[in-house]
């Protein structure tokens, strides 16, 4: 597979804050690649450098064969970008926005309609409505259509699903998977750890540094501990209790259970037996597989 994006020793600081600290990674053509990390991790800075909207302090990056500094004009013609904040023209209608973006790239809606058909059809009944009057989900579909209308080779999406409900998030990822089938390289950032599983490969990012780069399956496989799911009626109190034990390496609330790892070779069954004799007599445990969030937290605290 050929390389779509190469990033070498990229660093960027804002005054004393290091937003990106020597980032190295490469992304293949036709891949869905995820930047996974919380706010302030450096995801937006990285995407802005790759889309030639921001200059790095050190290092370089190549996107689709072009250098982000010297060849910025070519890159701008060949990438699609959907920023985190809705940045279409609120006073223009749906159709006017799309016509405008097609015009900027010297193309027409007609010429590239096949690229956006699946997505645009869903909002076409509202094509005479002003963009500012659309619902959140419809705005997102319009923004994605506008980012695709010039047939980009690489699509950058900065937190497209932040603040979006679980159903709309699912639908958005279904759209991305369809686009991938057309050979588009997709770079997407998200603070939702569960979305990592929907990417081909991900970079886990925290405070400007990459914690790990791999496929979600391999990241999960490399979790270095035996992980237990712990159940009880009052998980909050049990979680505090587990955290106070000297044998505990980590104990985190996860929905209706606690994810628990142990130091050294302590036996979980022995500890549970002891706990049950005290106040938590309904505790039960089973071994479970780690998820991306388990891995992220483990890497964060390393």
């Amino acid at each position: 597979m050929s390389t779509s994006i190469t990033i070498s020793n990229l660093s960027k600081s804002y005054e004393e804050t290091k937003a990106l600290d020597s980032i190295n990674l490469s992304i293949s053509e036709g891949e869905i690649f995820g930047f996974i990390g919380p706010d302030g991790a450096g995801k937006t800075t990285l995407i802005r450098i790759l889309t030639t909207l921001l200059l790095a302090d050190e290092g370089n990056a190549i996107v689709d064969g072009y250098d982000v500094v010297t060849d910025y004009k070519q890159i701008r013609n060949n990438v699609g970008y959907m920023p985190g904040q809705f940045s279409l023209y609120q006073d223009l209608t749906v159709e006017e926005n799309l016509t405008f973006f097609a015009g900027v790239f010297k193309t027409t809606i007609k010429e590239n309609y096949h690229l956006i058909k699946d997505i645009y059809q869903q909002i076409e009944p509202y094509k005479n409505r002003r963009a500012g009057k659309l619902s959140g989900g419809m705005k997102q579909k319009l923004a994605l259509s506008c980012a695709l209308i010039h047939k980009p080779k690489v699509l950058f999406l900065d937190e497209p699903t932040t603040g979006v409900d679980a159903v709309s998030r699912k639908e958005f990822w279904e759209m991305l998977n369809k686009l991938k089938q057309d050979g588009l390289t997709i770079v997407v950032s998200t603070p939702y750890m569960d979305e990592a599983a929907l990417c081909d490969r991900v970079a886990l990012i925290q405070k400007g540094k990459i914690l790990d780069i791999n496929s979600p399956e391999n990241i999960v496989k490399s979790f270095p501990f035996k992980l237990y799911g712990v159940h009880t009626k009052n998980i909050y109190h049990l979680n505090n209790h587990l955290n106070s034990l000297k044998e505990t390496h980590s104990a985190y609330l996860f929905g209706e259970s606690i994810h628990w790892t142990l130091k050294d070779n302590y036996s979980a069954n022995d500890i549970v037996k002891r706990i049950k004799e005290n106040e938590f007599n309904d505790v039960s445990i089973n071994t479970i597989e780690a998820n991306i969030e388990d891995c992220f937290m483990e890497l964060m605290t390393k």
Binding site: N240, L253, F296
Partner: protein, 244 residues
């Protein structure tokens, strides 16, 4: 059990559009109540009413013992509120933010002083005291915003997506603070898009197209709707709405 929020047949219309369609529910003292729904389901409209910022079209609403029609100003004074979008003044120092909010709620100078010391101690902010809020990492900022939202010891605090974008460890520390507050008897009324967080609530409601379609403990709801997780249940309910 003491009731902090009592909503009966609440209707809110904007022109012909029915944003809240006959909502009825109660929230009890010391309860963590998750208020879930898809974007546009009508959550924000309902929260604005509960916070005394907007009047219902019809129906009865009682918050912290005050009636929504007669005592809206008293409701505002007796609740806490925190949102993801705006919480603290970035250009003010930590101490000034605490002083400002304490002042708004009419706390005495001594009380503000002791709260300031307490919060700085609790969050380990000694080195940040004289710095402006913008210097704080997001996670700490959100924790501080939460403490400030309950500075006047309200019976209920409304948290609107307080953990969006926060790293996974801080998100859990934030939930620890929520549990502690609830243990003290404060009612916590929370919205979130993280479905695992829905499982941490004592009870949740799921709104679809202006109506409450599910209400109960996470365990009970999963049994009733025969789903493995709250996420599954949420998707099931919200998808039905979109297919209408």
């Amino acid at each position: 059990m003491e009731t902090t929020v009592k909503v009966n047949n609440l209707v809110k219309k904007f022109g012909d559009f029915v944003a809240n369609d006959n909502l009825s529910f109660e929230v009890y003292a010391g309860e963590i109540f998750g208020f879930l729904g898809a974007n546009g389901a009508g959550k924000t409209t309902a929260i604005k009413i509960l916070c005394g910022l907007s009047k219902p079209t019809s129906g009865d609403v009682n918050v912290s013992g005050f009636n929504i029609y007669k005592d809206r100003e008293k409701i505002k004074r007796n609740i806490g509120y925190m949102s993801q979008r705006f919480s603290l003044y970035d250009d003010l120092t930590i101490a000034d933010n605490i002083k400002f909010y304490g002042g708004i709620y009419g706390l005495s100078r001594e009380k503000i002083k002791s709260k300031t010391d307490e919060y700085i101690e609790e969050l380990g902010l000694q080195e940040y005291v004289k710095r402006s809020i913008s210097d704080l990492p997001l996670g700490i900022k959100q924790k501080l915003a939460f403490l400030i939202a309950v500075i006047h010891e309200p019976k209920i605090v409304f948290l609107d997506e307080p953990t969006s974008g926060v790293d996974p460890i801080t998100r859990r520390q934030f939930w620890n603070m929520i549990y502690q507050q609830a243990d003290k008897g404060t009612t916590v009324f929370i919205t979130t898009h993280y479905m695992d967080e829905a499982e941490y609530c004592n009870r949740i409601s799921i709104m679809v197209d202006g109506k409450i379609e599910a209400l109960g403990t996470p365990k009970q709801l999963k049994e009733d709707f025969k789903t493995e997780t709250i996420e599954e249940l949420f998707v099931q309910l919200a998808r039905n709405a979109k297919n209408d």
